[in-house]
């Protein structure tokens, strides 16, 4: 899954995408390009359509018009699992883990497809060394090794958010999309999560939605600002910080 063919090709390419619910247009003429290996943040006011954009890219919902490409291949119209199998993985704004399964099982399930075990019903999951090692590694990475046998539903909120990230990156996808990964975390937890994200997405393409500007400005190579379903600005953190449109539509005078 290396981008050997063309290192310059965009990891994600959204072209002229529209999404309407009934007759409300939520996403209008959305164009977005995320280069491979880039850390791209999407910011914008609540209800601007950031999560919807995630849903459109990851196949959760289908665009009304326009197309989405992953590493050059058309993926709009594909189902979520098909897109996931092509190396795109996402997390959810609302924690979305397997509540009754243990932390270990949560992560392991996310590892299975990518390690090629798929729907196998003739293999013992416990005796798949590469699955075991990878799971253990991820648990270690997200600092949940000591909680491995706890049902995910019983974790604290911050731990569940961390697990959410763990599940997202477990498949080894090259494109990772995180929807407000630090929402609801304290400062300390946020800092920890940021360094975690930074480390885990090393060498990968990252798309992140965040309202916490310290996270956004600390993490992103490039930022796009989404307002009313349309990207009004795109650029480096510096450019965005200075953009008056952005100030008016999103940051307000309180910008940190």
């Amino acid at each position: 899954m290396s981008g050997a063919v063309s290192g310059k090709r965009a990891a994600i390419e959204v072209r002229a995408v529209e999404k309407r619910f009934g007759n409300v247009g939520i996403i209008r003429d959305l164009n977005l390009s995320v280069a491979q290996g880039e850390r791209h943040a999407i910011i914008g006011p609540n209800g601007a359509g950031k999560s919807t954009t995630f849903n459109l890219i990851s196949g959760h919902i289908k665009p009304t018009a326009g197309e989405v490409r992953l590493n050059g291949d058309l993926i709009s119209g594909l189902r979520p699992f098909e897109i996931n199998r092509r190396g795109l993985s996402r997390s959810f704004q609302v924690t979305n883990v397997f509540a009754r399964m243990s932390v270990w099982e949560n992560v392991r399930c996310a590892v299975l497809w990518a390690t090629g075990h798929r729907y196998a019903f003739w293999k013992n999951v416990d005796s798949l060394p590469e699955v075991r090692e990878r799971t253990a590694q991820i648990l270690d990475d997200i600092h949940l090794t000591h909680r491995r046998d706890v049902p995910a539903g019983l974790l604290t909120y911050a731990e569940q958010r961390e697990l959410e990230i763990g599940i997202t990156i477990a498949s080894g996808a090259t494109v990772v999309m995180l929807d407000e990964p630090t929402a609801g975390m304290s400062h300390a937890e946020t800092d920890r999560a940021v360094s975690l994200i930074r480390r885990l997405t090393e060498g990968k393409t990252l798309v992140i939605v965040e309202h916490d500007m310290s996270v956004v400005f600390g993490l992103a190579d490039r930022i796009s600002v989404l307002v009313y379903g349309h990207i009004i600005a795109s650029g480096t953190p510096e450019e965005i910080r200075r953009d008056p449109k952005v100030k008016e539509a999103y940051l307000g005078e309180e910008a940190h």
Partner: protein, 430 residues
């Protein structure tokens, strides 16, 4: 994480003792199956054991759906029944064509019967989970059961299809006429199926089924199509239900439309839930209890259905995790070594609780037998339903029992809290 490949433990870094214990449980189970008919050799117990064995396979197959994949089916008996019919037809065909297939292989064909139907019907059925699936399964169940009365040439109408298991080629010189031989055949398939179904829970598919149960939406984002997962689980459940059905067909030498019907489907749902869906052995306990009640209650009381209902309501209300949940609740206490602190309160509660139960039984039987005047025999004491003495006894037992029992139950709860706290402190409870 430094266990060798030959390690038997479930999770790699658990102590090897777990593996021994794991195999131990299975070996003890198998040994028990072998010696059971020797210890309890009466015809009655043989019959019961055979039926229980069949019910266990059936309930375990149902739990692949309910417990593992989160699919509530009201029509699981369809596969059971079709397995039964497939087995009957196969047996008849073996006899009439003189094929060299001995009886012990027949359940394989029964399983295929259940499987084939699952393969055909499953894809549309498992498109959705939840209520939609439940209702489709109800519809399919009724549909197949009713059609079976119409398609007389396959299902034999009201009277069903009969067969003679002794007419098949012999194996180890066994004719399978005597119930004992049939019992061992059932036991053999029980062990085989149970191992297979247990193994299934430990495979990638098994684990992903659990994930689909918990959160089908999220599963899509880790590369899996929940529809495919549900479909595969449905097929496996269909296969083992078919095996169970064919065992029943072998046992009774008949298959009829009732095999496919709502009552059978309801019964397996009951057994599975009552036993507890969260643990592999739950449905086993449930199947044992339900079959036993079915056989036993009917012969001691005419209003067995009422007790059936009450027992189920009781379990659903007071032990929603089923019997297995009740048992497993104690595991952390055992590990933490605090179980002994609750046992005394259990013992104290036994007397008033039993008294309460007796009171209820006495009341019900008094009403049920009032007109017939038949004597009620409770622990060897005879009560006349028409005598006021009985009424007073019943009232005293119910009211007094309930009063005292509540106190003792509260004591149990307190003792539990204390023991659980200790267990939590020692890290055995999340």
């Amino acid at each position: 994480m430094t266990t060798t490949k030959t390690s038997t433990s479930k999770i790699a870094d658990k102590p090897a003792g777990d593996g021994l214990r794991f195999y131990g449980v299975w070996l003890i189970g198998i040994a028990a199956l072998i010696v059971l008919p020797i210890v309890f050799s009466s015809g009655g117990s043989l019959t019961s054991f055979s039926l229980i064995g069949i019910a266990i396979v059936f309930a375990l197959s149902y739990n692949i759906l309910l417990g593992q994949t989160g699919l509530l089916s009201f029509g699981h008996a369809v596969h059971y029944g079709l397995g039964g019919f497939a087995a009957c037809h196969m047996m008849n065909a073996v006899v009439s064509h003189g094929w060299p297939i001995p009886l012990p292989f027949i359940p394989l064909f029964g399983g295929l019967g259940g499987l084939v139907f699952a393969i055909i019907i499953g894809w549309v059925m498992t498109k959705r989970a939840g209520t939609v699936f439940a209702m489709i399964s109800l519809g399919i169940g009724e549909l197949v059961a009713s059609s079976s009365l119409i398609l007389r040439s396959v299902f034999g109408g009201e009277s069903g299809i009969t067969t003679d298991r002794t007419a098949l080629p012999k194996m180890f010189g066994w004719s399978f006429g005597p119930q004992l031989q049939v019992y061992y055949l059932i036991a053999f398939w029980l062990v085989l199926s149970a191992i297979a179904m247990y193994a299934l829970t430990r495979t990638p598919l098994g684990r992903i089924s659990n994930a689909v149960r918990d959160n089908p939406e999220r599963v899509q984002f880790i590369g899996y199509d929940p529809h495919v997962v549900r479909y595969l689980a449905f097929c496996f459940a269909g296969f083992f239900a078919g095996v169970a059905g064919s065992l029943a067909a072998i046992n009774f030498e008949i298959a009829n439309s009732a095999y496919l019907g709502a009552i059978q489907s309801g019964l397996v749902l009951f057994s599975t839930f009552i036993g507890g869906t969260a643990y592999f052995f739950g449905p086993i306990l449930g199947a044992i209890l339900v079959t036993y009640l079915q056989l036993g209650l009917t012969s001691v009381t005419s209003v067995w259905q009422l007790y059936f209902g009450i027992i189920f309501i009781g379990i659903v209300m007071f032990s929603p995790g089923g019997i297995a949940g009740l048992v497993m609740m104690h595991r952390p206490l055992v590990r933490a070594g605090t179980l002994w602190t609750v046992i005394p309160s259990y013992l104290v509660a036994v007397v008033p609780t039993v008294a309460l139960a007796c009171g209820i039984i006495l009341t019900i039987e008094t009403i049920a037998r009032y007109s017939g005047g038949e004597v009620i025999n409770l622990f060897g004491i005879g009560f006349k339903p028409t005598s006021p003495v009985t009424w007073v006894a019943a009232a005293v037992l119910v009211i007094g029992g309930a009063f005292v029992a509540r106190l003792t139950w509260r004591r149990i709860a307190d003792a539990w809290d204390r023991a659980a706290t200790v267990a939590r402190d020692r890290g055995y409870l999340a």
